[in-house]
């Protein structure tokens, strides 16, 4: 389960907001999460980001990615390529995230050495860690708000920002977390901190989101730092550049485009 942070797809990793903040006291956990889910992220976006993996000895590895995504009726389509390091350069993913939770996503993987694209499972891949990072595919993709029950626990001030603290528990037992606690900024409906608890109820990972600022009138999270407490491993995602409402055609999100590269 991934909360609003889940909304930060690898290509969006963004949250936008221009919602008048009135009547907070009346909002339930469900309503807050729904509003965060409904935040305007533009119709399309292009992102360049750097992902740094840090192991328990402090050794670092970097991945550089470029992605494009766009929203269509009941589906968000995205295409992503690795620009670095050399051993994964050119590897591409095409994803059609279906808004209907009962329908699996469609995913394809392009392997440049084989010059071949193959369909991969849309459901099981979500629970896998993404290219050695501490983010699962689902952490970076969409999770339907209605897949979890959301409870407003309290309000807190984090880094000078008033936040709601929301506990989200999955309705089905097949989720990899037992619960997720999110700190949602009241001014922007952006998650600034998220705690992920494993099936045993122990704290597994903490995500700190920082450098949240507006780009083209859209609130954008520029840095995400995930710490896996159980594996003593960290991943830092930095957004190098982002553009909203780009000129993109739906043929950008096809297997042919995946084989051509970005």
């Amino acid at each position: 389960m991934k909360t609003q942070i889940s909304k930060l797809t690898i290509m969006t990793l963004i949250v936008a907001i221009v919602i008048p903040v009135t009547g907070f006291a009346q909002l339930t956990g469900q309503q807050i999460m729904q509003k965060a889910d409904d935040v305007d992220k533009g119709k399309s976006r292009k992102t360049e980001m750097k992902m740094k993996l840090i192991n328990k000895r402090g050794a670092e590895r970097e991945r550089v990615l470029t992605s494009k995504s766009a929203d269509y009726k009941n589906v968000t389509k995205s295409i992503m390529f690795f620009n670095a390091p050399a051993d994964v350069k050119g590897t591409g993913f095409l994803t059609w995230d279906n808004d209907v939770s009962s329908k699996d996503d469609d995913r394809w993987l392009y392997m440049p050495a084989m010059k071949k694209t193959r369909r991969i499972s849309g459901s099981s891949a979500k629970k896998e860690y993404f290219m050695g990072s501490d983010f699962t595919y689902e952490d970076m993709g969409n999770r339907n708000v209605n897949d979890d029950t959301h409870k407003l626990l309290r309000e807190e001030v984090v880094d000078g920002q008033k936040c709601w603290v929301i506990e989200s528990k999955p309705k089905n037992s097949d989720h990899i977390y037992s619960k997720v606690i999110s700190w949602i900024r009241q001014d922007a409906y952006v998650a600034t901190k998220v705690e992920f608890y494993d099936k045993m109820g122990s704290l597994q990972k903490t995500l700190i989101v920082s450098e949240i600022k507006k780009v083209d009138d859209f609130w954008t999270s520029h840095k995400m730092h995930m710490k896996n407490h159980q594996r003593n491993h960290q991943t830092i995602i930095k957004i190098n550049s982002i553009e909203y409402n780009i000129d993109v055609d739906e043929t950008t999100f096809t297997v042919n485009a995946l084989e051509k590269g970005m």
């Binding site: 699996d104 995913r107 394809w108 369909r119 991969i120 849309g122 096809t254």
Partner: protein, 416 residues
């Protein structure tokens, strides 16, 4: 073929130096070295080769190009050493069309490691299957025109000049399927009977593909040649030498394929109706020459994404010779199955994989198999160290020929 490559190289040269500078230009590549030693008593090297691969690609506006070259040194097969142009193509793309011209790899189908509809690019079997499959597949000089929209694509492929697969027939090649040392009858491979390099011998293919939510499927048709030769045989007057002549004949193919995710599984299928395929006759009917039959080649595969970076994949294929006769050397059914298991560990730094091919002869009730099990450790993002075992087994069938070629191998690859 050479003329096309020259044209392409000239085009690239013009793009680079003629004032039409590419807006984006990248140079990449790798260096790798691979050494394999026979497990059985002789412990001799079955492969020992090193390679530098350089890749150059550029882009300007709607056009891009790619070229790759290998500089290889082969310690076992000196004839394999040298510089080789692998790919060299130019592409022009519009919103719905792209035209790719030049030496390129064309990969059709859903199967892994088995060719059902994937009949355009020939294969280099110099070391049989004991190579990475991307090294086995050979590029072809071709023109590929594609139309695409958001859910479908249609492509037309034109291959003007025939190019044969490469089989291990050299006597000094440990992977040669010809063994004259212990044979009562000496075998000699004569010059191949290849099609002339004239336009009437060109190949033409088309494919229409659909990528929809929940399913991919495609229909294809190809007017080609059997790239992997079939051997006709003749004996010397004293019957002490058999002469094998590699022959290539026209071949038609109608194919279909699909791929469908189902929860943690992906089901893949592929089928080809092969028209006018040639088969060798049984030895006592060698004088008949090659026998022409139609055949049906089908494959079904299931990939299981088991979680925690485990992946299991099985494939089963059966080629059925229609209207089979006893004079045909091949069995009516050629059954081939594969099992692939892989697991990534330590945040994908270590990959363990095993890929098993097995053949089954229903008539003889015998199997043969080939298993490549390997470890791939990423010492850094640029340097990979690999080691593995290739195991051959069988009394009869495709892999039985190499039952003495089981080997251990090591490989290092630096990517830049």
């Amino acid at each position: 073929m050479k003329s096309i490559v020259k044209i392409l190289l000239t085009t690239i040269f013009i793009m680079l130096s003629g004032g039409v500078y590419a807006q984006i230009l990248e140079f990449n590549g790798f260096v790798d070295t691979y050494h394999a030693m026979r497990i059985s008593d002789e412990h001799d090297f079955l492969s020992s080769r090193s390679r530098l691969r350089g890749e150059l690609k550029g882009e300007k506006g709607k056009s891009d190009f790619f070229s790759s070259m290998n500089a290889s040194y082969n310690n076992i097969l000196p004839s394999e050493s040298g510089i080789e142009l692998r790919e060299a193509w130019f592409r022009y793309t519009t919103k719905n069309l792209d035209l790719k011209l030049g030496r390129q790899i064309i990969s059709w189908g859903q199967a892994d490691g088995i060719k059902i509809t994937d009949l355009i690019s020939p294969v280099d079997m110099t070391e049989f299957l004991a190579r990475d499959y991307d090294d086995i597949r050979m590029p072809v000089d071709a023109m590929r025109l594609r139309y695409m929209n958001k859910n479908m694509s249609a492509e037309l492929v034109f291959v003007p000049v025939f190019q044969s697969s490469i089989l291990p027939v050299q006597q000094n090649n440990p992977w040669s399927f010809i063994d004259n040392e212990n044979a009562e009858v000496f075998t000699e491979v004569t010059s191949p009977d290849e099609p002339e390099k004239i336009i009437i011998n060109s190949e033409l293919g088309g494919k229409v593909s659909f990528n929809l939510s929940g399913i991919d499927f495609a229909f294809s048709g190809l007017y080609t040649w059997n790239k992997t030769p079939v051997f006709s045989s003749n004996f010397s007057p004293h019957f002490d030498t058999i002469y094998l002549t590699p022959e290539h004949h026209r071949l038609g193919m109608c194919g279909l394929e699909f791929s469908r995710p189902q929860g943690k599984f992906v089901i893949r299928g592929e089928g080809a109706f092969l028209i006018g395929k040639r088969f060798s006759p049984v030895a006592e009917n060698y004088s008949l020459g090659l026998i022409e039959k139609n055949s049906l080649n089908m494959l079904i595969g299931i990939d299981w994404y088991a979680g925690k970076e485990w992946m299991v994949s099985v494939q089963f294929s059966d080629e059925i010779i229609l209207d089979h006769e006893e004079t045909v050397a091949n069995n009516e059914h050629t059954i081939l199955a594969t099992l692939s298991v892989s697991k990534k560990l330590f945040r994908s730094k270590l990959a363990i994989s095993s890929f098993v091919y097995t053949t089954y002869s229903p008539e003889a009730g015998k199997i043969s198999l080939f298993d490549r099990t390997s470890l791939d450790y990423s010492l850094s993002d640029e340097l990979h160290l690999m080691a593995g075992v290739d195991f051959f087994y069988g009394d009869e069938g495709m892999f039985a020929t190499y039952s003495n070629n089981s080997e251990v191998w090591i490989k290092a690859k630096y990517i830049f």
